[in-house]
Structure formats: C-alpha cells, structure tokens
Symmetry: C2
Subunit: 211 residues, 2 copies
Amino acid sequence: MASDPTRIRRLPEKAVSDIETIYQILDEGFVCHVAYVERERPVVIPTLYARRDDTMILHGSTASGITRAVRRGSPISIAVTHVDGLVVARSGFNSSANYRSVVVHGHGRILQGQEHLDALDWTVETLIPGRLQELRRPTEHEIRQTATIEVPLLDVSAKVSAGPPDDDAGDLASDIWAGIVPMMLVAGPPVPAPDLREGINLPDYLDPYQR
Amino acid sequence: MASDPTRIRRLPEKAVSDIETIYQILDEGFVCHVAYVERERPVVIPTLYARRDDTMILHGSTASGITRAVRRGSPISIAVTHVDGLVVARSGFNSSANYRSVVVHGHGRILQGQEHLDALDWTVETLIPGRLQELRRPTEHEIRQTATIEVPLLDVSAKVSAGPPDDDAGDLASDIWAGIVPMMLVAGPPVPAPDLREGINLPDYLDPYQR
C-alpha cells in the first residue's frame, strides 16, 4: 500500500494492467471510495457501485456531494479495495497487508431517463442477482431522488499484493513466527426483517448470498 | 451511502459526532482511503493507518503520492469504512448497505526522528498487539524508506447505517422477502510462511487474530 517503487519491485505487490483482473476486483466489491475536489480541497466518500461492461455505475442521491461534483464537470477518482490479509513478516518494514485495489480516474456522466432507469436496474441486479424481477418498479419520486453516474474505465490501474512475507535474508534465522493472517469479507446468514410477513421464505438467490 | 438529506432522516442512517463512536470505528480498521489533489485533480489511494489518541498515523513510503502531497502542504481527506451488510428492502430505493464510516479532513504532518520511530512502533503494535517486543529494531535504511504522517482528528465526522430495512408502508404487504445480509471482515487461521523454521509456534497474540 502506497509503497515506494523499490518496495514494489521487492515485494509480491505488483501493478496489474490486464482488464480481466481489474474486472474481477471490481465485480467482487460493491462499495467504492470516490474522491472529488470542492473549493480546492479533496473530499473522499464511500458509495455503492456496480461495474457494467467497461464502466462503473455509481449510485447516489441527486443531492450528494459526488453528484454535485460530477454535475459541475469536476474530475473524480475512485478506489475499490479488498483487504485479503495481514502480512506478518520478521521485521516491521516487511510487514504489510495483502490487498487488491483498483483506482480509476475520470469524469462521470449523470444518467437520465431510460439510461438512469437501466442503471438503477443494473445496480439492483448486480448487487443481488435474481432480485430485480421480484421488485416492484421504482416510483417517479424514487427515480428523481436517486442519481446514477457512469464513469468509463479508461484511466484505470490495479495493484495486487499477495502471498507470504518476503523477508530480508538476514532475518530468516529469526526465532519469531512469520506468515499471513488471511482476511475476507464474508456474508452471514440473512436475517429477516422484524416486519416480514409470515410464510415468506428466504429466496434461493440469498441462500446463501455470495459474491 | 452518499444519501440525500431526506433519506438521512428517514432511514436508520445517521450522522454520528460522539468521539467514542468515531474512535471505535477507526480502531476496528487498519486500511483507510486517502484523497489528495494533484494538478487540480483528485487522487484516492488506500493505505495503512493506526489511530493514536486524537490523531491518525498514516503509514506509507517517502516516495508515495500521499507523502508528497502532505510535504507540499496540500489538504487531505481520509475515509475509513466498514461494510456491515446488505439491506434487502422490498423496493430498490430502500435497499442499501449497512455500514459505519468516518471521514476526516485536514493537513498531515510528516513525522521525523524519534517521532517517526515512535509512530512506526505504534503502527506495528496497533495492528498486531504483542508483536513489537519480538521484532528486531528497524534499520536506518528502513527508517528512511518509510514515512509516517500524523493527521489530527479535528474535522471528523461519522455516519452509521444499521438495522433492518425501513420500507414504505405501502410495500409491507409485499410477498417478497426483506431483511439484511450481515457482512464482516473476518480473519482466518494464520498461515505460516513457507520459509518458517521448524519448531516456531504461532504466538498467542495471533491465536486467534482479532480486531
């Protein structure tokens, strides 16, 4: 993470440019961090997204800072990061985190009309495949309250840090433990809403929910 | 997430200002997203951090974009976000994510000398309590390669979205399932490095690793 060039060469952290790996990283997540500039100051905010082909669809509200920044034509930067574990090396210096991260730079486009509706549907169906066909259609009010922003995946890069610690040769004789602590965002068993009517079973598409 | 003010009032998503909640959110994480401005464009990058009292210590390299931005006096914005689950409502509009998020705005200070050393130690000990006393001391070269940046928690806010879906009254008669899918970043069993010497046991502080 934010490592210097020397470290990028030394450690199993590497820049990745193949688009399939970038798509995989994006498709595994649904929360991104979006940065924009407001009065010359940076602002970073988490929001929901879904990748669609060679774009990201950001989901927000018409009143959000992100939407306002995009509306005034400001560039944005987006990061999606998966934490895969702690790298417990024999020195503090070689200890770090295993992660996969995609960073996108560009300009967003606020979708309107049918494009906005399609993007809302896409977001629902990407987050929970199978859900869309069961839901009622959004109301005019809901459509107006929500914003979808399309960002092309043109200026996009990824970094992947994986594998065991890469300790200095001189540290290998150390008496202390080294290795990794794997980490993963896991979904637990779905919890029914307190006001769920009796007799409504958990749908197959949530049993279990996996990404 | 990035919701409009109406939604903030309606949904169980709320702005949180008490510092203990903010500390809890920060202490549960170790990866943040830092935004800075470079040539009038926003850049967002993940990096490691550890909270110390009323500051965040960012960990990076002397050559990283974050460190360069802080060195030239640019303001930064930092977000720490925990995804706690999917909110599966009876409409797309009321569906969202449960999350806890802290956003910090301010200027960083690059730590030097003993302050830098202390911050490196703090980061190691915060990420893996118990580890520091077992590690060798960092070398001069390692100390020079690494940067620690102190950011005061002065302009800091948090948002917490929790609990079951808050569906429209008119949707409660729906035949479809509603509820939440809890999510959590969990640590798996530690995996020894392939070059770990025989007879070195997993230390108590990693058995199990919990945050």
